[in-house]
């Protein structure tokens, strides 16, 4: 089975790519555009911020470069530290995207860790689902919180591998496994992946997809890393579908022992 006939389905929409990427931290919009193209991503996150009044009226707009006809734009609530701000941001995002209601909910605890504030994440998820949003939710790797968010109606559960922007990889694969065992909606590792092997590990574990930003934008060559991530996600997914060999404690020869010239 190749990845072509193994789509990722989120909120009823089908996607070929299992790599979702952010658009922050790039040198400029052109680098953003080329990196996204190299990654093969179809879902691209953006942030919602106040428009600069009276400054740079000719500044190019991100959505002129990353256009909604080519990509599924996933507005996030980054920078929100309580449920009310996150809900307001999502409503602004829906207006900005002409009614498109897929959002990435993240309610953060503090600046130092950017760790999810799960209490307000749950409050905001509840309000947003009631208001008709399709909520992909960033959360901790706590399986009980993940279950709660799914039962509220979130369309994807996105536990962190490690802290946002840390590049420390997946620190607690066992928790991610428990979350996946119970989830009936896609589970994406969001945050923490630092390099291609870590993206492959997430996919080999059976995660439905990976969302990343810093690992690509923070690489010495972001475009090359975007291409590496594309391959890692595909390789990891194929390895998961193929099913790895069992681990053994001792050697098992690949060449037959019969017919050797010895003895």
């Amino acid at each position: 089975m190749s990845h072509q006939n193994d789509p990722l389905i989120i909120a009823g929409q089908s996607y070929n790519s299992r790599l979702l990427i952010g658009t922050g931290k790039y040198k400029n919009l052109e680098e953003t555009r080329i990196a996204i193209e190299a990654s093969g991503a179809e879902i691209v996150t953006v942030a919602v911020r106040r428009t600069n009044i009276g400054q740079n009226p000719d500044e190019p707009n991100l959505l002129d470069i990353i256009t909604p006809d080519k990509y599924t734009i996933l507005p996030n609530t980054a920078g929100c530290f309580n449920a009310e701000d996150a809900v307001r941001t999502c409503k602004l995002a829906r207006e900005l995207m002409n009614g498109h209601d897929l959002v990435k909910l993240e309610v953060l605890g503090d600046q130092k860790t950017l760790y999810p504030n799960v209490v307000d994440t749950i409050k905001a998820a509840d309000k947003l689902v009631q208001d008709g949003f399709k909520v992909m939710v960033y959360t901790s790797d706590d399986p009980i919180v993940a279950q709660e968010l799914e039962s509220l109606g979130c369309v994807a559960i996105m536990p962190l591998g490690s802290m946002i922007g840390s590049g420390l990889g997946i620190l607690n694969p066992h928790n991610i496994n428990v979350i996946m065992e119970d989830a009936k909606v896609p589970v994406l590792v969001d945050a923490g992946v630092g390099t291609a092997s870590e993206a492959a590990v997430a996919m080999e574990m059976g995660c439905d997809a990976v969302l990343m930003n810093s690992a690509i934008a923070g690489a010495r060559n972001p475009v090359l890393m975007a291409s590496a991530m594309r391959k890692a996600i595909e390789a990891g997914r194929e390895a998961f579908l193929a099913g790895r060999m069992p681990r053994k404690r001792y050697a098992s020869a690949s060449s037959p022992m019969d017919g050797t010239i010895i003895g």
Binding site: A47, P57, L62, N76, E95
Partner: protein, 66 residues
Amino acid sequence: MQIQVNGEMLQVQDDITLTGLISQLELGDKRIAIELNLEIIPRSEHAEAVLKEADRVEIVHAIGGG
């Protein structure tokens, strides 16, 4: 009259509409979303939305983020 736009005070003519404000700020061709006193005002209603003294307007757009 004075209104607040993105946290800053701004002098505008009385009875200005959101469409008028957008044009005063030279944001006419930008993809933006507007909140007036914590309520989203859809694009289709900007022309009829008349502002009053001390209104609080938020104008946002999409930027790079993860």
